[in-house]
């Protein structure tokens, strides 16, 4: 047997991130605590370099390499650029927070970069094996990040729950994959797709494997009834870690769903559509209803995430290109909104104190009208009020649903969005009409203020001019 060397160029960004992360890891152990800024700068340079590589790669069509295990396509490139930007934003928001809480260690950046590498591998997965490999790299880094604050019992508990439930979900996914492999005899997504496009599709074993795969995907999304870990992990982890978990991995979950269900099992759409209908309906109902009774804003945002995930799944289950594009647009819009909201929680937190209670937002307008204004825009966008991006994202998903004749789902999603508006507007009420519990403007470095303003401005701009991103999302699915 002779080996053919694979074409390495499509995976250049991944190799660069891996090399740089190892460099950061080695450099960091030789640094003194006062020089930790170098780790931060190196991590940012990693993201910048990776972005430059991906942006200039100019991929126009699907390219397979590494014997079909790695795929490079326009959708992957767009998602990767979003992930780099998100990770950079997370690092910037977190920097001062980590310093104040004695968490400014190299491991935060390394684990986040390794998690990002896992996301990149998932986005570019051409086979179920590389998909699972990326997923595990992401998950293991995440478990460690949640437990990162070692003296916090709450964080340890959250990490333990996340680890146990995550391991079960990975097991389910792996079991589903092994069943599909047993029935098709191939591990590559294009091979699986070719077999199901010709074979008799709906036999019981195939549906059995498919269900396990969908369970794995739903867990990684945090969709009801596989959502139990989301609120506990969001609440238990330090705010900087919550910010990361809430943002970039949702892009990964979207990529996981698209690669597995659309690229690989696209012809079984009739099978997984019903499952996703159940998941998304439950997510939207339970997410919005349970969020109402939360007094902890991290938990509230966790349930809000669950309902947003329901919307992303609604876009995917349409099975149409418009629906996938709408889901991708929704995922990106969600990431923009959620980084802003958690960024604000980080700004309000002080040394040893997390601003995680709704009461911490009382009278924010009298303390800092600027911050309150930013939060107002972010919260309005999450509630889906025009002209912000959340409105447009919801609108495209609903239009996609109506187009494939699932009007009842669109109506239900609409009704529960109105229910959900209650708890978003309550935050606005607390900020503008309640007495502040403490005085004094929250401290924040200039670059973080600029970042938060840019973040909120993006929410407004993407809502006012959605065409650019939307046409990009449509283009990558053609």
């Amino acid at each position: 047997m002779n080996f053919v060397s694979p074409d390495l160029s499509p995976a250049f960004a991944e190799m660069f991130v891996l090399g740089m992360t190892c460099l950061v890891l080695v450099v960091d152990v030789y640094l003194k605590d006062s020089q930790r800024g170098i780790t931060y700068v190196l991590s940012m340079l990693t993201l910048l370099g990776a972005a430059a590589i991906t942006a200039t790669s100019g991929v126009v069509a699907r390219e397979l390499t590494f014997s079909g295990h790695f795929v490079s396509d326009p959708m992957g490139d767009v998602l990767k650029l979003v992930v780099y930007a998100t990770t950079a934003v997370v690092f910037m928001y977190s920097r001062d927070y980590l310093r104040k809480n004695d968490l400014f260690k190299g491991e935060f950046f390394m684990l986040a970069l390794f998690a990002m590498l896992g996301i990149m591998v998932m986005i570019s997965a051409g086979s179920m094996l590389s998909l699972y490999l990326g997923l595990e790299l992401l998950s293991l880094s995440m478990y460690a990040l949640v437990a990162f604050q070692r003296d916090s019992a709450q964080a340890a508990e959250a990490a333990m729950k996340y680890f146990v439930l995550g391991a079960i979900a990975s097991g389910c996914l792996l079991y589903g994959i092994s069943l599909l492999y047993g029935m098709t005899g191939t591990i590559s997504l294009s091979g699986v797709s070719a077999i199901f496009s010709s074979a008799d599709q709906f036999n019981i074993p195939v549906l059995f494997g498919l269900s396990f795969v969908v369970v794995g995907v739903a867990f990684k999304f945090g969709a009801v009834p596989f959502h139990a870990w989301v609120p506990d992990v969001y609440q238990g982890a330090p705010a900087a870690v919550t910010l990361f978990i809430a943002s970039a991995p949702k892009i990964a979950a979207f990529a996981l769903a698209i690669r597995l269900l659309v690229d690989g099992l696209g012809d079984l759409q009739g099978g997984w559509q019903d499952m996703l209908v159940a998941l998304s309906v439950l997510s939207i109902i339970i997410g919005n209803l349970v969020a109402i009774v939360q007094t902890n804003i991290k938990r509230m945002l966790a349930y809000s995430t669950i309902s947003h995930v329901g919307f992303i799944l609604l876009g995917i289950l349409t099975g149409s290109q418009e629906g996938y594009a709408a889901a991708m647009y929704y995922a990106i819009a969600y990431v923009v909104m959620t980084t802003g909201a958690f960024g604000l929680i980080i700004i309000l937190s002080r040394k040893g104190y997390e601003a995680e209670h709704l009461d911490d937002f009382k009278g924010l307008n009298s303390r800092s009208p600027w911050l309150a204004g930013m939060m107002l825009m972010l919260v309005f966008s999450m509630a889906g009020i025009p002209p912000f991006v959340g409105f447009y994202a919801k609108l495209t998903v609903l239009m996609g649903l109506v187009e494939v004749g699932l009007t009842w789902l669109a109506v239900l999603a609409l009704v529960f969005s109105v229910v959900g508006a209650f708890y978003y507007l309550r935050v606005v009420k607390l900020m503008y009409f309640d007495e502040a519990r403490e005085t004094g403007e929250p401290e924040a470095a200039l670059d973080i203020r600029v970042l938060l303003s840019a973040n909120a401005a993006l929410v407004l701009l993407l809502g006012l001019f959605p065409d650019g991103l939307m046409s990009l999302c449509i283009k990558v699915f053609q």
């Binding site: 047997m1 002779n2 080996f3 060397s5 891996l18 190892c22 890891l25 080695v26 152990v29 030789y30």
Partner: protein
């Protein structure tokens, strides 16, 4: 028919011989000193017969985990070494990259002091 079992006979003889020679060497070259610790069945720090529900140092786990990493490395290296002929330069470089990544991890654990007992 019976000669098919010859390798097994040789294996048994070599096994018994090696075991016997090692015992004999220890008996001849060992420097006496038969205290209680030396005579215990397992000279690893634990009593052989006692309640197994006892506390022991969490650092044992750390050492065990670090050991597993290098143990797995060997598990990858053996088949690679056997098949190296067919893998060519690419296969060689792939394993070099893999070992380099392990070295990075090794530098990290060394500098972090994971290998120091105290």
């Amino acid at each position: 028919m019976l000669e098919n079992y010859l390798p097994i006979l040789i294996f048994l003889l070599v096994g018994a011989g090696l075991g016997g020679v090692l015992l004999l060497l220890g008996f001849l070259l060992g420097r006496g000193g038969k205290d209680a610790q030396k005579l215990s069945p397992y000279e690893c720090g634990f009593e052989a017969f006692e309640d197994s529900r006892m506390k022991f140092d969490v650092r044992y786990y750390l050492v065990a985990i670090l050991f597993i990493i290098f143990d797995l490395e060997i598990a990858f290296l053996f088949p690679w070494a056997v098949a190296l002929d067919g893998l060519g330069m690419f296969g060689f470089l792939t394993m070099a990259v893999f070992l380099l990544l392990l070295v990075v991890g090794f530098i990290y654990e060394w500098k972090k002091g994971a290998l120091e007992w105290d």
